[in-house]
């Protein structure tokens, strides 16, 4: 070790590796932390749009202002209960789980029939949310065919 390195080691102190521990924690928990960050970004945007204070959000959610403060920092491992409360109070959706679907049920005069077209097939492959699938085209001619022949087509 050179003199200069010895010198700095003589006066340097330890702080328990604070940064190193946090950096390792952030790396190991990156998946949910990123989701928490996305929620915080959305919540802060909606609060701005509505001209709502964090204190008002805390009151509406029936939680402490400190709890809201943690949420908007994007470092909190939120429970589904908290996420649902946020959605309910702010009137927004924070989670949408894509639902794969082979068929879309379409109400017709003759009863319930299945419909399946190319667009829905793509939608399944790309895991688009269900609402995109539901908005797919409805062809009355195809409806006359049997569901099996439609799938084969």
């Amino acid at each position: 070790m050179t003199d200069i390195r010895k010198k700095i080691e003589e006066i340097a102190v330890d702080d328990g590796g604070k940064w190193l521990k946090k950096a390792r924690y952030r790396r190991a928990n990156r998946g949910w932390l990123r989701k928490s960050q996305n929620i915080a970004i959305r919540v802060l945007s909606v609060l701005d749009e509505k001209g709502m204070q964090q204190k008002e959000l805390a009151e509406a959610m029936d939680v402490s202002p400190q709890q809201v403060s943690k949420i908007v920092k994007g470092k909190q491992n939120l429970t589904l209960q908290t996420v649902s409360k946020l959605e309910q109070v702010l009137g927004i959706s924070l989670f949408e789980i894509p639902r794969p679907s082979f068929t879309t049920k379409v109400e017709s005069k003759k009863g319930i029939t299945a419909n399946f077209d190319k667009r829905k097939e793509r939608s399944f492959k790309t895991q688009e949310p269900l609402k995109t699938v539901v908005n797919g085209s409805y062809n009355p001619e195809e409806q006359k065919k049997s569901p099996l022949s439609l799938v084969k087509a």
Partner: protein, 188 residues
């Protein structure tokens, strides 16, 4: 002011200053801020004009939200880079590749030189350090730099002041590599 050990394996290479009015060392403090959405949103709102100029200059549109997202992503990449250096424990994984001279006009490396660390791609995140010796740095702070010169904004000027204070402190405790100064004088 204290010098805190940050990267010590296999030989100590990175230290950070903990100022007497803070409970965090400067590396820890900056990454706490760069992971805090509330702070970031407030920062970019306060510096909305600079963000617009930055967007125009780089031909990219950054809304407040987009700026927050970019900062989070860049902070993650910068932290991972430091973490890789810390965990490699390899003296050839040198910090000198991360830190450059603060002054772009300088080409020499010398003791107590003001230095900056940044990502290789376009990013506004900066970490600042004083170079003590080859691969030996003391980190003094960090910033979100949206303007060309640090002197243009208060929060970046503060970082220059902090570097000056740390240089004075390092001189006062005799952490100056005189041999390197001599080699520089002799042009070796």
């Amino acid at each position: 002011m204290k010098i805190v050990r940050i990267i010590v394996d296999s030989k100590p290479t990175l230290y950070a200053i903990r100022f007497s009015d803070s409970e965090y060392n400067e590396l820890d403090r900056n990454f706490e801020l760069w992971n805090d959405q509330e702070y970031l949103r407030s920062f970019f709102k306060e510096h909305a004009g600079d963000l617009r100029s930055y967007s125009l200059f780089h031909s990219k549109e950054y809304s407040t939200e987009a700026a927050v997202r970019k900062t989070l992503s860049d902070a993650e990449n910068l932290e991972n880079k430091l973490l890789d250096l810390a965990e490699a424990g390899d003296e050839y994984q040198v910090l000198q590749t991360l830190f450059k001279q603060l002054n772009d006009m300088e080409t020499d490396l010398y003791p107590l030189q003001k230095s900056k660390g940044k990502l290789k791609y376009q990013s506004w995140l900066r970490i600042y350090a004083i170079r003590i010796d080859r691969d030996l740095y003391v980190m003094t702070g960090g910033s979100i730099k949206l303007t060309k010169k640090m002197q243009e904004r208060k929060h970046t000027q503060v970082e220059i002041n902090k570097m000056n204070r740390v240089v004075e402190y390092l001189r006062s405790v005799n952490l100056v590599n005189e041999d390197e100064f001599k080699r520089l004088e002799l042009g070796l």
